[in-house]
Symmetry: C2
Subunit: 338 residues, 2 copies
């Protein structure tokens, strides 16, 4: 098979690799239907995270089951399946508590920008669709495996409620999907923070009622103006920088909630500021597995269409161009077709 | 009248002061029934917080209304009243959201270790009891004005639920009251972290099912052993130091919650650690005003008896000895009688 490897910052190569095979009786091997490049893949691409030696990339996938290990009974060869970027047995204490992305047997996926992928913990990780979905649904189903699930988690962690006001910090694919989630959870007002016209347009299409282009303290002031001076009920922080976190915390009303879903880089939260703010804070890798059945249903019924975040489609062997386009912000998110 | 002033670390004096009077139409003046020394009063007493110039002390009070301003209709002279350490109009947006301790017109009380006290925002702050309660209830009603209300908030912020496991970090008066709150909210297992025998005994009396004497990483390990390896559902952080916060966060299961109610001193929360923990974090000054009617009812019905945290009673003019006894941990909390 062939797949993407990173050799160094800016250096993505598409190369022949050993075919994946069943290593454990809990594994499955899938043939990739579509895969993609994630905003978080840009951390090593930009050198913010070090690359010690060449390694495969990619953690988003939908595909066809080719082979399953002897302990896998929940899916079978030929089925179209979706799984989370974090695998889970779906039976441990953390999984039963609904935090499958903190499964005691979790393995993070990292080899998915390839035409075939081994899935550990397949029994608890993969969910099959009813029948084989039409190709037009593949991008949205792929989005469910990470960015849509992560946007959903941002809204859940920020405790978005019917009739409430939600702010989304970050206009990447996750932030845009977070707008969808806030709308589905009934937020009456959804303020998307974005200064890029094409992303503003998509945010509005997904349900944003207001756009705020200001950032930092100016952005906070603008949110306060829009929320009776006290801040928003829920703020969905979908970036992962210290500035975005500060902006999120200061945009939230006393007693409101921040859900933060971008992996934090150099973020420290001041205890005294958090204390006097009365803001609740929860984040982490999204427990996508818990949402999969519902989100797959929402996509298959046509209720949500998160696949619109893919504004660039490339053959898988041009994966390096996908990274370049996202790095240069020419694309929100690049879809890759084997 | 007479009241306590702090002149410098370790220097508390009881001195004649101007009588308090109605300054604003929203004020009331009360004659103190009982007051007390708070754990947080020890921060300036120990020099951790600076004392620039002599100023009054004390923020906990119950008493008899002597006079009310022209806009105060909710209480009247002669009534026995309880209020929060943070005053509130109880009508602003933050109050309506249930965060009266973040009232847009909040003033923190700071002159209560005195025989008379002016209460700003009296209309929204003071709650009168049904009739004049017997003196035996005064300590518990006084506890409601801060430590019991704060313990309740710790349990609410940590989202204690029926049948859950709660850990209380800190065995001061607030921590002990937090045990009461966790019990009332239905926690099935309540683990109090304490290494002092008299406090352990009171914690058990209040409802603790387990005592853990270890601290820091050892304490975390012990909690993990007691909770199936994953940590507790809710951890109530009632100290306010960086070590206590770390211990609390690491003792919580993925998806669990930390409520932190000790004013943080030099506490910074690492964003990445919080992210991967999946722990929810909320703190702040307790919205005591919201709880007052319920907690007064629980005290008056004999259901809870938080006044037991007062293990030293002194005449008000010996207030300095109250500070000394608490500083030297000879007393959990000192009650002061005018």
């Amino acid at each position: 098979m062939r797949g993407a490897l990173i050799y160094a910052p800016g250096d993505i190569r598409f190369e022949p690799l050993d075919d994946p095979r069943i290593l454990n009786p809990t594994d499955a091997v899938i043939r990739t239907a579509v895969t993609c490049v994630c905003g978080s893949d840009l951390w090593p691409y930009r050198g913010v995270e070090p690359t010690e030696e060449p390694h495969p990339m990619g953690h988003e996938y939908v595909g066809f089951v080719e082979e399953v290990g002897s302990e896998v009974t929940s899916v079978r060869p030929g089925q179209f399946v979706i799984g989370s970027f974090a695998t889970s047995d779906n039976t441990c204490a953390n999984c039963r508590n609904g935090f499958q992305s903190n499964c005691l047997h979790r393995e993070f996926m990292s080899t998915c920008q390839a035409d075939h992928v081994r899935i550990p913990n397949a029994q608890g990780t993969l969910v099959a669709t009813d029948g084989i979905p039409g190709e037009e649904l593949w991008p949205s189903l792929l989005a469910v495996s990470d960015v849509m699930g992560t946007g959903w988690w941002a809204a859940e962690a920020a405790e978005v409620k019917r009739g409430s006001t939600a702010v989304v910090v970050g206009d990447g694919a996750v932030g845009l999907c977070a707008v969808i989630a806030a709308r589905e959870m009934g937020a009456e007002r959804i303020i998307a923070m974005s200064r890029h016209e094409s992303r503003q347009r998509l945010a509005r299409e997904f349900g944003a009622t207001d756009i705020v282009a200001e950032r930092g303290e100016e952005g906070v002031e603008r949110i306060k103006e829009l929320t009776g001076g006290i801040g928003a009920d829920s703020v969905l922080e979908c970036v992962g920088t210290g500035e975005a976190m500060r902006q999120a915390l200061r945009s939230t009303r006393p007693g409101g909630n921040v859900g933060f879903v971008g992996v934090p880089h150099d973020v420290a939260v001041d205890g005294q500021e958090l204390f006097f703010s009365h803001v609740g804070l929860r984040g982490g890798p999204a427990p996508v597995r818990r949402y999969l059945p519902d989100l797959i249903g929402l996509v298959q019924s046509g209720r949500i269409d998160p696949g619109k975040v893919f504004d660039l489609t490339l053959p898988l062997d041009e994966v390096a161009e996908g990274y370049r386009a996202m790095d240069e912000r020419r694309a929100i998110k690049a879809l890759l077709k084997p």
